[in-house]
């Protein structure tokens, strides 16, 4: 019994020390790599912003919208709509990440004789390769 109790105390101390040491080590490593990753990502972001600032000036943006309007369904889509689409694209891809060159009105999809969107999505989900 005394021997087992001694073993118990050894396990108590070993367990607490090892569990805390491993988890504290993980804290330090996570903090370290989080800092490295966020610094790297921040520097990439700031480079992108700088590049975009140099590349896209306001008058160029306005010109791009005008060009897109000319190419878009013979100018039947209002400029405000094209500007809104261009702004949405910029939000997703970042400043200077993508340029809208033309906008086309989608034709209403015929449902008769074709897959519905839900069916098509289901087929795509189930037939996608590994």
């Amino acid at each position: 019994m005394l021997g087992n109790l001694k073993l118990g105390l050894i396990i108590l101390l070993t367990g607490i020390v090892v569990v805390f040491s491993v988890l504290v080590l993980l804290i330090l490593i996570i903090k370290l790599y989080s800092t490295i990753v966020s610094n790297a990502q921040n520097s990439i972001e700031s480079k992108k912003v700088e590049k975009a600032k140099i590349e896209s000036k306001p008058e160029e943006k306005a010109h791009a919208v005008e060009t897109a309007k000319e190419k878009s369904d013979d100018g039947t889509i209002p400029g405000e709509v094209i500007a809104a689409i261009a702004a949405a694209v910029e939000v997703i891809f970042g400043e200077g990440g993508a340029v809208v060159t033309s906008v086309k009105r989608a034709r209403p999809q015929k449902t008769s004789g074709r897959c519905s969107a839900w069916k098509a999505a289901g087929m795509a989900e189930n037939t996608r390769a590994f």
Binding site: M1, I11, T14, G15, V18, V22, L23, L26, I27, I30
Partner: protein, 414 residues
């Protein structure tokens, strides 16, 4: 008249082979216990996904013990067999016994639960469950606030204190290790450790572990309230920072490498947990990630539950040891909760009141139930307080912590 005699003899034969004539009284009590567990799973919904298969496994093994018995093989010397059966085309395996070549002739095939149990015996099911858990777990809150690991570690202290308690109650060291791990509040870890250290106690320990996990909302709140002040429980925590995808992908790889190098005995559990998480976070194997989370997890849960239940035979379960295991398991659970909250208080003081100590109790794994309890108790004091995501950090840290604690116990006691 002969016809009637034969009829009567066949009726007597069937009765003699039936459970009524052959089952010992302990089995009938265990059948009643399994009914209670089925009731708790179905009516009270206490961890029904696990408790129901355990209860049915328990019921089946006590109704028909052969369902969990292994096959029997007869060993016949080759020369002797060929002499008696000169025209036989023999396909039996040959083995050497005391220098004599023998045929291994299967006499009886084992029961279904015997074969399913091999997944527990050889430590296959718990790591596969961990794979599914990893695929379902978002470690984002833990990466955003890695200090949560401290709370996940603190909640494991209960395991080691209970180990000493079990030794004092007369359990052997390997049994005490298996009982202590109940305090980790992690069913697969408890089963994994017990299958390695004390497989004979698998039934009572699994039932105790899953029962206490189901009772988290009842066991934890009184301890949490006892150890904290009203002001501490009302502390609001600042919102966690967003975590990038790259950080989430790197996390499982780093944890696997660090833990496996430091503690190889924890590599199986941690490796599978983190593999599941890597599948989830990488986003490139969505189909197998979904399979790990759903189909695989469900299949293994059924096998694990039935196998564990099949170990709870009357002779094993109805012993004074079971009462000791149930009591010590509760003690381990309470100690884990208490140490989590105490370390939460220490972190609260160290950060100048920025940490709500209630999130410490979530360090005892039991994902996500323990985190929900922290949220609920916090909102009782301050309805506008949302601790759930803060508590998820210690909660998932507890899963890693209990796997590390399991590695320590296995490496010392195996």
């Amino acid at each position: 008249m002969d016809f009637l005699t034969q009829f009567w003899e066949s009726i007597l034969g069937i009765f003699a082979n039936s459970g009524f004539a052959s089952l010992p009284w302990e089995n009938y009590i265990m059948i009643l216990v399994s009914f209670v567990l089925i009731y708790l799973a179905v009516k009270k919904q206490y961890e029904p996904l696990v408790l129901l298969p355990i209860a049915v496994g328990m019921l089946l093994v006590n109704l028909y013990p052969a369902i969990a018995m292994g096959g029997q093989t007869q060993y016949i010397p080759v020369a002797e067999y060929l002499k008696d059966h000169p025209n036989d085309t023999v396909t039996y395996a040959r083995v050497m016994i005391d220098g004599v070549e023998c045929f291994a002739k299967p006499e009886q095939i084992g029961g279904l639960l015997y074969y399913l149990y091999q997944g527990v015996k050889h430590g296959i099911y718990p790591p596969l469950i961990f794979l599914g858990i990893g695929a379902m777990t978002d470690f984002g809150p833990l990466i955003a606030n890695p200090k949560s690991f401290i709370l996940g570690a603190a909640a494991q202290i209960g395991i080691f204190i209970t180990f000493i308690g079990a030794i004092l109650l007369g359990f052997a060291p390997n049994e005490a290790g298996a009982i202590g791990i109940i305090g980790g509040a992690d069913g697969p870890t408890a089963i994994y450790v017990t299958s390695i250290l004390a497989s004979g106690l698998l039934g009572p320990i699994a039932v105790a572990a899953y029962s206490y996990m189901a009772l988290v909302p009842i066991i934890q709140p009184p301890i949490m309230k006892l150890l904290t002040t009203k002001e501490e429980r009302a502390i609001k925590m600042v919102q966690l920072r967003p975590v990038s995808k790259l950080e989430k992908i790197l996390f499982p790889i780093i944890v696997t490498v660090v833990v496996s190098l430091l503690l190889p005995d924890a590599a199986t559990l941690i490796g599978m947990l983190m593999f599941g998480n890597l599948m989830r976070e990488s986003g490139v194997v969505e189909r197998i990630s979904k399979t790990a989370q759903n189909e695989l997890m469900n299949i293994i849960t059924i096998f694990l539950g039935l196998s564990v239940g099949s170990t709870a035979t009357g002779k094993v379960f109805l012993s004074p040891k079971t009462i000791g295991i149930i009591a010590l398991g509760l003690f381990a659970f309470m100690m884990g909760t208490a140490f989590g909250v105490i370390f939460g208080k220490i972190m609260c003081k160290a950060t100048g009141g920025k940490v709500n100590p209630l999130i410490g109790s979530a360090g005892v794994s039991a994902v996500p139930m323990a985190a929900r309890v922290s949220q609920k108790v916090g909102q009782e004091e301050n309805p506008s307080n949302f601790l759930l995501m803060h508590a998820m950090g210690p909660n998932v840290a507890g899963v890693v912590g209990s796997a590390v604690a399991a590695g320590v116990l296995i490496s010392i006691l195996k």
